[in-house]
């Protein structure tokens, strides 16, 4: 049975203290360079954070579409009910506890007492229910939360959520990669909901000039303190600046225009690593990274044919792509799950690079289809994606597969995926959450199942995974999912796309302080997100 109550046992306290000690000494796996974090954080100061994009649509739940930049601003202004820790567990955050019934179809969320939104109103069960209502109306998050039947305030600080099927992994859906931000009722009901940011988070919105900067100042009444009793956050002010061009973000850090920045671009990460003696680099540890892959349309010729998909998979040299496009900084993937996610298998049976076998399969396909085997490689207009698509085209050509390139802007690209009007998309998805958090991407008939595969075996497995609570059985189920992906070759898994946050040498604490109530340390850069309340500036 899943028990995510936060009443700390002695064992939990000891584990929490141990983790806190490890964190303080900078020994946690994945914190590549944070030696200077060992000195005690000093409250005060301000930083400028270079983000990869502006969140022009704002933060209003029904319409917001948050990518990493919006999620990071969200981490400043808002909190989530749950957060993931470094052990791949969801632990309560704004919630004090989240407890299921015996059949996992009714969950009681108890909120922490005494927390206030930035406008001074209290965090209550009613406010949380209003958030659920708003998110369930959202087209994207609404699809993710479809399994929720009812949400009811059953006490001043208690919300009961019922689900249509048993749902042991519901806590992951109280986070949704940092997108399930709890917003004040005053924001949710405002006509300028997208820009009137009112949360319970460590920083309060001071000003937002679109395309220029979003300035947030310290929330002096924030509900968390560090282990020494110092009020969090440490910083007085944080300014977010959108700098769309990846190389310019690195330049801005070097030139002093920003104090920290994020990127998942392999070549920029390599460039940052060359500068690591002058910077603090925090890198996402191996284990729970998002996967870069080539998403194939299994509902349209030629890729509705398993042998055609195998030919594509075997024609693509993923090692070469990783070396040439990422300077080898990322790891080649063979499945949708990184090494710390249940369901990971070192060798799930995914077809390996073999031009000879690919050519043979491609020839057989051509012989059966009038001599044609044409695919379209569709990608966004980012220069790195263009270069990657060109390399894949060349590799496919060596196996006799004719590929043409199609460049889209972000909207047209997503539309191609939603509408199923594509053959291969250069895609990135599936951060290292629990595999059930991927359910709506693979569910047969879901608009978000972009590959359009209709596979009763796969559907049976993810349905079982959703309702199963036994850890050992879940492991078996998701390993079977992994093997099924490999045998049916619905996607060509390329590499794990890992995030790096680079900061000036005197900016420390990107990994964040330990989670409250012995919840462990925060998951580091899962989907690129990291807490902001532990950042401080060494004078």
């Amino acid at each position: 049975m899943v028990n995510v109550s936060t009443s700390p046992s002695l064992r939990t306290k000891l584990v929490g203290a141990g983790l806190a000690l490890l964190s303080a000494t900078g020994l946690l796996v994945g914190i590549a360079s944070s030696a200077s974090a060992a000195s005690a954080p000093k409250p005060g100061g301000s930083v400028v954070y270079g983000l990869e994009a502006e969140t022009g649509g704002g933060w209003c739940p029904p319409t917001a579409r948050l990518a990493i930049s919006g999620i990071e601003v969200g981490a400043a202004i808002y909190d989530t009910l749950m957060v993931p820790n470094s052990k791949n567990e969801m632990v309560p955050y704004l919630a004090k506890s989240v407890t299921p019934n015996a059949t996992f179809d009714s969950w009681k969320i108890t909120l922490r007492d005494g927390i206030k939104f930035h406008d001074g109103t209290p965090l209550t069960a009613d406010a949380v229910v209003q958030n659920f209502d708003a998110y369930r109306k959202s087209t994207l998050l609404g699809a993710a939360l479809k399994n929720i039947a009812t949400t009811t305030a059953t006490g001043p600080l208690e919300v009961t959520v019922t689900t249509t099927t048993p749902w042991p992994q519901l806590p992951w859906y109280l986070y949704i990669d940092g997108r399930f931000l709890i917003e004040a009722p005053a924001q949710l009901s405002a006509s300028d909901c997208s820009s009137k940011l009112i949360g319970t988070g460590p920083f309060k919105l001071e000003s937002w000039t679109v395309n220029q900067s979003l300035v947030a100042t310290k929330n002096p009444d924030y509900w968390q303190k560090d282990s020494k009793g110092t009020q969090l956050p440490y910083l007085d002010k944080i300014t977010f600046k959108p700098i769309a061009e990846a190389a310019q973000r690195v330049n801005s850090l070097q030139g002093g225009a920003v104090d920290l920045m994020h990127t998942s671009d392999g070549q920029q990460i390599d460039a940052l690593q060359q500068l690591k003696s002058t910077l603090n680099l925090t890198q996402q540890p191996n284990g729970r990274a998002e996967v870069r892959y080539y998403l194939m349309n299994a509902a349209k010729p030629p890729l509705d044919d398993l042998n055609a998909r195998k030919a594509v998979a075997m024609a693509i040299d993923r090692d070469q792509i990783n070396q040439l496009r990422n300077n080898g900084v990322h790891r080649v993937a063979n499945g949708p799950f990184d090494t710390s996610v249940i369901g990971y298998l070192k060798n799930p049976g995914f077809p390996q690079h073999n031009v000879k076998a690919a050519t043979k399969l491609a020839s057989a396909y051509k012989a059966a289809h009038g001599g044609q085997f044409n695919v379209v490689l569709e990608h966004t207009n980012d220069p790195a994606n263009v270069a990657e698509a060109e390399l894949i085209k060349e590799q496919l050509g060596k196996a006799g597969i004719d590929a043409t390139l199609k460049q889209d802007d972000q909207t047209a690209f997503v539309l191609a995926a939603v509408g199923g009007n594509f053959s291969i998309l250069l895609w990135r998805q599936h951060p290292g959450d629990d595999p059930d958090a991927q359910y709506f991407w693979w569910n047969t008939g879901s608009i978000l199942n972009f590959g359009k595969f209709n596979d009763p075996t796969m559907q049976g497995l993810i349905d079982q995974g959703r309702t199963e609570s036994n850890a050992a059985k879940r492991k078996q189920i998701y390993e079977a999912v992994n093997r099924r992906f490999a045998s049916q070759v619905y996607n060509v898994w390329a590499y794990y796309d890992q995030w790096t946050v680079a900061a000036k040498k005197n900016v420390v604490g990107v990994a964040g302080p330990p989670l409250p109530d012995g919840g462990g340390t925060p998951a580091l850069l899962l989907y690129g997100r990291h807490p902001l309340l532990g950042i401080s500036v060494n004078k």
């Binding site: 209003c60 319409t63 909901c193 061009e245 330049n251 030139g255 225009a257 539309l415």
Partner: protein
């Protein structure tokens, strides 16, 4: 008075034609605003969105509604954030206007002396060298120069200049025009510092064009009889060049400089994005990516209106610059 009425009529025609053309063109984009705002929405949700925003109406009805709103100062709303487009324009327009002004000033300040000098020294090694340099600048796209300047000046050199301070790689500080648009001014030194590299990036290509134009016109002017007369009277070369030849030679330059105000807005898109300048170029870039059709139309209308008004002003300047035109109009 007749000229003003004629120009206003032209303005109306230009705005209607350009926006109608843009209106039609934007509807050729694959997908529509509903797809962009709610890509994962159901057909019913998208239909509801189209009905709410008027996107389900016939083409000319949509256009007439939008134009009617524009005349009343209503530029529409951003579909996603519900922000009035006029608010966005109010914030971005002073930024772009200042950037364009600085780029034009830098271009003219450099191009005019070079144009005069090369016309005076036509056919010499110096003339050929300057011309070759001008061609090189012309061939260099502004975004390439922008990236190079950002790296070499902002990262490698990092100059800390008096008044301007350290030249940043990206970012923007409000300047002297923002208060006119009801916003607060920033530190003026910092403002010029943030605008220096973007303005140079945009000015480089213009320098070459302006210099070449002025050179050609000056060479022709220097063949005129009144110049020969001035020489015969013993006026110095400096006085002939700057007082008697430059003014009548600058009409083409002025016309092209005016036309370039429109071009600069389009050309500034890449430069604004690279340097993180929150101007109209950045808004256009984002509106295209987000299929914000009403927003884009409003930007196109603003550019068209600005384009006509600036050229109207330049037309009026002809009279000041060339006495022959003044006499002809009289």
């Amino acid at each position: 008075m007749g000229t003003i009425a004629r120009r206003l009529a032209q303005l109306v025609v230009v705005v209607i034609l350009s926006t109608l053309f843009a209106f039609a063109l934007l509807r050729l984009f694959p997908g529509d605003a509903a797809d962009a705002v709610i890509p994962y929405g159901t057909a019913a949700q998208k239909a509801k969105f189209r009905a709410e925003t008027g996107l389900d109406k016939p083409f000319f009805e949509q256009y007439a509604t939008w134009l009617g709103n524009l005349v009343q100062g209503d530029l529409g709303k951003d579909y996603q954030s519900n922000t009035p487009v006029s608010d966005k324009v109010g914030a971005a327009l002073p930024v772009s206007l200042q950037l364009m002004l600085y780029a034009q000033l830098i271009a003219l300040v450099v191009a005019i002396p070079l144009g005069v000098f090369t016309a005076y020294r036509v056919g010499t090694k110096a003339d050929r060298a300057v011309n070759t340099g001008a061609f090189a600048l012309l061939a260099l796209p502004s975004f390439v120069l922008a990236l190079a300047l950002a790296y070499w000046v902002g990262v490698k050199w990092k100059p800390d200049l008096p008044f301007l301070g350290q030249i940043p790689v990206t970012g923007y500080e409000p300047g002297w025009l923002e208060p006119v648009f009801g916003q607060s001014a920033g530190n003026i030194g910092k403002h010029f510092g943030t605008m220096l590299l973007p303005a140079i990036s945009l000015a480089a290509g213009l320098i070459a064009v302006y210099m070449r134009l002025l050179r050609s016109d000056m060479i022709a002017t220097l063949q005129e009889n009144y110049i020969t007369m001035a020489r015969a009277k013993g006026l110095s070369d400096k006085r002939i060049l700057w007082r008697h030849a430059l003014r009548p030679s600058s009409l083409t330059l002025l016309t092209v400089a005016g036309l370039n105000f429109g071009t600069l807005i389009g050309g500034a898109v890449a430069v604004e994005v690279i340097f993180g300048i929150p101007g109209i170029g950045t808004l256009i870039y984002q509106a295209i990516n987000a299929r914000q059709i009403v927003e884009l139309q409003s930007y196109i209308a603003i550019i068209a209106i600005g384009y006509v008004l600036i050229n109207f002003s330049i037309d009026a300047l002809y009279v000041v610059l060339d006495p022959r035109i003044r006499r002809a109009r009289a």
